[in-house]
């Protein structure tokens, strides 16, 4: 590990003041400490923000939720208002990591975690995300778990977060503080497609500190679900995942929110599927048509082509679950698929 200076911030202004130059913010550390040990992350200054008091979850006047950047994943997943109003978010969070990891990992850290592409994590290999211009061995090499949507010549990495998938579906807003003042960046759109600059995962600029994530009020999200397919029953990243909320009345889809995980450089908001579903009958045929509409734009690589029908089927299955079952908001439903 490269030597670095360690600073402890006690509030947002002192954190932002310390976060200049080659500094990085340290939340739970479950990804960053690992990346520093691997030599992938080499900050000159580590600004520990775990004592900054932004670890609360509050209802907003509009009926949404303001989730502090430092809220632990385990606290987020167990919060009564998250379980009641946004069950897909609670399900996604408990589908990620292990108990130990969720006890340390923070909301902002989860959003900002880096891809688990094996070439990115191995400093002996080229990687355009880690060393811009060095090349991408994943295109010709191991890309089974990598992107089928929105990738570029430069990068086929996927965003690894489960939590970010329902946040993208909900249109959560990321609150950011910086030396230039605060700003708010809506999801999807906070994360960016790789294009020719895959080293940039998000719209954040150096020194920016995520302070909170705001969830809009969305009453029909009380009927929502996160379904994750992975290579083993627990503690594995998504091969494909789906977060969906469905508002059905008299057998017709009035509104919906859908996002896919494990398929792109960003949590992928399925806008085409949503557009196909609004006003359509809530039937298996229409669900399949919507899924096809979304995945028609997929451009899989040779060894991850299976993800296209898998994503289609998981999306249809999730929508069927939402229309068939009455108990989906139950706290005990983790949305797991084994």
């Amino acid at each position: 590990m490269r030597p670095f200076a360690y600073q402890r911030a006690t509030d947002v202004p002192s954190a932002v003041a310390a976060g200049t130059g080659q500094a990085m913010y340290l939340g739970g550390g479950t990804n960053l400490v690992d990346l520093m040990r691997l030599g992938v992350a080499t900050p000159e200054v580590l600004v520990d923000v775990t004592r900054v008091p932004f670890d609360t979850i509050e209802e907003t006047p509009g009926g949404g939720l303001l989730i502090g950047a430092g809220v632990r994943n385990s606290d987020l997943a167990a919060h009564p208002l998250v379980l009641r109003n946004y069950p897909m978010l609670a399900q996604a969070v408990v589908a990620g990591g292990s108990g130990q990891i969720r006890n340390m990992a923070t909301v902002a850290g989860n959003l900002l975690q880096r891809t688990r592409c094996s070439y990115f994590q191995d400093i002996t290999k080229p990687c355009n995300k880690r060393v811009p211009g060095s090349g991408c061995p994943a295109r010709e090499g191991d890309h089974r778990n990598l992107a089928i949507l929105g990738h570029s010549e430069a990068c086929v990495a996927t965003h690894p977060s489960d939590m970010a998938v329902p946040l993208a579906a909900l249109g959560a807003v990321v609150n950011v503080e910086s030396s230039g003042g605060p700003r708010a960046i809506p999801m999807p759109g906070f994360h960016r497609l790789p294009g020719d600059a895959p080293e940039r995962d998000t719209l954040l600029r150096p020194g920016d500190l995520v302070t909170a994530v705001e969830l809009p009020a969305l009453p029909f999200a009380a009927r929502s679900r996160y379904r994750k397919v992975r290579d083993r029953a627990s503690f594995a990243f998504a091969v494909v995942s789906v977060a969906a909320a469905l508002d059905v009345a008299d057998g017709v889809v009035r509104d919906c929110r859908i996002a896919l995980g494990g398929v792109a450089h960003v949590p992928w908001r399925a806008e085409r599927a949503e557009a196909a579903l609004r006003g359509a009958p809530a039937t298996a045929e229409e669900f399949a048509r919507a899924a096809e509409a979304e995945l028609a734009q997929a451009s899989p690589l040779p060894r991850n082509a299976f993800k296209v029908p898998l994503a289609r089927n998981v999306l249809v299955r999730t929508l069927l679950d939402l229309t068939a079952r009455e108990d989906l908001t139950a706290a005990g439903d983790t949305g797991e698929t084994s």
Binding site: G29, M36, L46, Q100, M104, S234
Partner: protein, 170 residues
């Protein structure tokens, strides 16, 4: 830097700690507590699991400075002595009795994680819940069956102990 940590109920200080050290390194190499084990150093295997402010975490992923002023309980802190009948926690005793230990490297982390599961669950947990709770702890020897047995045994005994305490006259 100097780091102060409340470890197993005792305020300890470690000097000359490098910023890049983990809580696990400080516990094992500076404070003389080798119970938590150093294996994957990536949060994958759980053999370094300790309580940090009451919640089990992977000590290998906690930067030393993050632990300043925090409360840590390691597997050593669960026991009140070495006496197999008296001093060990129910979870530790159950691991011995159920044959849940082979090479033993994963055992301290599993015991802390299982201890947390049992303390946070009023009833005896279902096997599926035990498996999910232990998903972040890898064992290369046992195939997990005896470990599940041990957790079930410890949870059953703790539930019985609690029931007996309630019934006992004051």
């Amino acid at each position: 830097m100097r780091v102060h940590i409340d470890v197993n109920g005792e305020r300890l200080a470690a000097d000359d700690v490098w910023e890049g050290e983990s809580l696990l390194y400080v516990l094992r190499e500076r404070l003389g507590l080798p119970g938590a084990k150093n294996a994957c150093e990536q949060g994958e295997c759980g053999s370094c699991t300790v309580y940090l402010d009451g919640l089990p975490v992977c000590a290998c992923l906690v930067a030393a400075g993050q632990a300043e002023g925090r409360e840590v309980v390691t597997v050593e802190g669960l026991a009140s002595g070495d006496d197999l009948d008296q001093g060990l926690d129910e979870v530790q005793r159950a691991f011995v009795e159920a044959g849940a230990v082979q090479c033993g490297f994963c055992t301290p982390g599993l015991i802390v994680q299982a201890h947390s599961l049992i303390e946070s669950t009023p009833q005896v947990p279902e096997d599926a819940d035990i498996r999910e709770a232990l998903a972040g702890n890898l064992c290369r020897c046992t195939g997990y069956e005896k470990i599940i047995d041990a957790v079930r045994l410890a949870a059953t005994r703790k539930a019985q102990n609690k029931a007996a305490q309630k019934k006992a006259p004051r």
